[in-house]
């Protein structure tokens, strides 16, 4: 019984049941409000239902329709863009900022860190509102600045399909970079200093030290952040919903918005559930694959 010294001995009355009791609230809520809905969602996805009467079974009809629906295709494509951007740009950007904040003897570190965390504190409404004001095609701050600096200020940021996507992506960058920086910085501060000193003695340059020590040592943090970001961005809703309403056309529509619209604006509950099932399969598979590949959340 190797665990006997570190954990209560199994079989001693209440001790045996205590851990199950302690973790049970999660599993009760998880079953009621996640597992059951997922099961219900799978069933609903095979039906046609507008919320009244009983659902009508239509087999794989919703799925066939889904894969021919250009809106769903567009939302998948946009969500993929947001997710790839989050992993390929936001993540490295926050790593760089963390590296800068970790500079020796930096003053005001806490103040900087506090400021960069601001987007998490503010409501998405105020963020979207201000971004809307900044990027407004007619009265926006950005166009005014461009006008003053370069004499042209006619970019229709929010009404041009390409630029609207860029603005959503900029919003994602602004909103998440500071949050991730906190995690990277904490990771960097937990790297033992001797590692760097030894490398310096061996004549390793700064770039070498970054790639040979910092990056490998940050692997657990990076893995955790990557998986969290993947799952978060895959379900992006607020940024496009508040800033562009998915438009112009469907150029910024995300999968979450697609589901929201189908279910709560058009009352196509079965159809929305089918989109949810497809999203679940993609995100859950990617999330599990990447977290087991990167070794996130091992029990010990």
């Amino acid at each position: 019984m190797s665990a006997a010294t570190t954990a209560p001995r199994p079989g001693s009355g209440t001790t045996r049941w205590a851990p199950y009791l302690f973790i049970s609230p999660f599993f009760v809520l998880f079953t009621l409000f996640m597992l059951v809905p997922i099961g219900a969602g799978v069933y609903l996805s095979l039906t046609d239902w507008a919320g009244l009467g009983s659902p009508e079974y239509i087999g794989s009809g919703n799925y066939t329709r889904l894969f021919q629906d250009p809106s769903f295709g567009a939302s998948l494509g946009n969500t993929a863009i947001y997710t790839v951007f989050a992993l390929a740009v936001v993540l490295p950007a926050s790593l760089l900022i963390a590296q800068a904040l970790n500079a020796r003897g930096l003053k005001l570190r806490d103040l900087f860190r506090l400021t960069y965390f601001m987007p998490v504190v503010l409501s998405p409404i105020i963020i979207a509102l201000v971004f809307g004001l900044i990027f407004d095609g007619e009265y926006g701050l950005l166009n005014a600045v461009l006008e003053a600096l370069f004499g042209f200020g006619g970019v229709s940021w929010l009404t041009d399909p390409f630029w609207a996507r860029v603005v959503v992506v900029v919003l994602v960058l602004w909103r998440w970079t500071g949050y991730l920086t906190i995690f990277f910085l904490a990771g960097m501060q937990s790297i033992p200093g001797e590692l760097y000193e030894a490398a310096e003695v061996d004549g390793a340059g700064p770039a070498r030290r970054f790639f040979a020590i910092t990056l490998p040592q940050l692997k657990p943090v990076t893995a955790f952040i990557a998986v969290t970001m993947l799952v978060n961005t895959a379900q992006i809703f607020e940024e496009p919903f508040l800033l562009t309403q998915g438009g112009p056309g469907e150029s910024t529509l995300s999968v979450s918005m697609f589901i929201y619209r189908a279910a709560f604006q058009r009352q196509e509950l079965g159809y929305a559930a089918a989109a949810g099932v497809v999203m679940f399969i993609i995100v859950f598979a990617l999330g599990r694959l990447s977290s087991s590949a990167l070794g996130v959340g091992r029990t010990r």
Partner: protein
């Protein structure tokens, strides 16, 4: 020049004094300039919203935009507070956020302790299930959950906004990591020898030692609940149960986009969030990252 500048950058956080090498002045200045610029980028929207909330409607859209309101007016605030049940929204938001936070802090630390300090059959599997649930996107369950909650007659906003979310997997994971790292087994064994019940050990011995992480969890939970939009949007239809984001979203989404009122409301709504954040900022950073740094 630049080579020596970057040399020191990758350095250890606490080098011995004689080894400490300051980077040359121009590079330092560049570093500070970048960090300040970034801080400006992060503060600008808040400053802009603050300033615009004191502008009248036509000035919000004046072109070119002005930073200082001229004339400055509190008209937006008075019209918001007299024309909209803003304080009701605030009461709903803060009430829901506070109640959720108390429940989240209790249930997550209890479950995190269960996973960190006990060996039991099925632990690995249960932990994996809990951790995997982090990868379930909310949009997937929102439709069936909405139907279930409505069908079960649980759609009362106060129930639906709070109960399903009081044991988030992220919080449990965070508390497990923190408990594992900071609670020595010996004090638990000592308490057991003294005849404490398992729950009493948690309540009187473990919980006080978890204080920093509890602070982080509380801020994380409070901000999440306070700023949540999608679920309230789906589940709350009666205006008397609107939270602040819902009320503002209704003004914002309404015909004519009432920028002036929404700006004033956003600023008022940001005050409790910023206060909570500033009060508990130290714990937030250390506690939030405890789970991620060591896996």
């Amino acid at each position: 020049m630049t080579a020596t500048a970057i040399r020191t950058e990758a350095g250890a956080p606490t080098p011995s004094p004689e080894r400490r090498r300051r980077r040359p002045r121009p590079a330092r200045a560049g570093l500070y300039a970048t960090l300040f610029l970034l801080a400006a980028v992060y503060l600008a929207p808040l400053v802009w919203a603050l300033s615009s909330s004191f502008k009248n409607r036509s000035e919000i859209f004046s072109f070119p935009p002005r930073l200082w309101p001229d004339p400055a007016t509190v008209d937006n605030y008075t019209r918001l507070l007299s024309g909209q049940p803003f304080w009701n929204w605030m009461l709903m938001s803060t009430g829901v956020a506070l109640v959720s936070t108390v429940a989240v802090v209790f249930l997550c630390s209890l479950a995190g302790y269960g996973f960190a300090k006990y060996e039991f059959r099925g632990k690995r599997l249960l932990f994996d299930v809990m951790f995997s649930s982090l990868a379930i996107p909310f949009a997937v369950i929102v439709v069936p959950l909405f139907i279930l909650v409505a069908k079960l007659g649980l759609a009362h906003p106060l129930f639906a906004l709070i109960v399903p979310w009081v044991a988030p997997a992220f919080g449990i994971f965070m508390m497990r990591q923190y408990t594992e790292q900071s609670i020595p087994d010996e004090i638990l064994d000592a308490a057991r020898i003294d005849g404490c019940s398992e729950f009493r050990i948690f309540w009187t011995v473990v919980l006080p030692l978890l204080r920093p992480a509890l602070g982080a969890l509380a801020v994380w939970s409070f901000l999440g609940a306070y700023n949540n939009l999608l679920w309230p949007l789906v589940i709350v239809s009666e205006p008397e149960y609107y939270t602040v984001p819902l009320g503002l979203q209704a003004l914002f989404g309404a015909e004519g986009r009432q920028y002036d009122l929404v700006l004033a409301g956003s600023i008022l709504a940001a005050i409790p969030a910023i206060a909570v954040f500033i009060l508990l900022r130290k714990q937030l950073v250390s506690g939030l990252t405890a789970g991620a740094v060591k896996s």
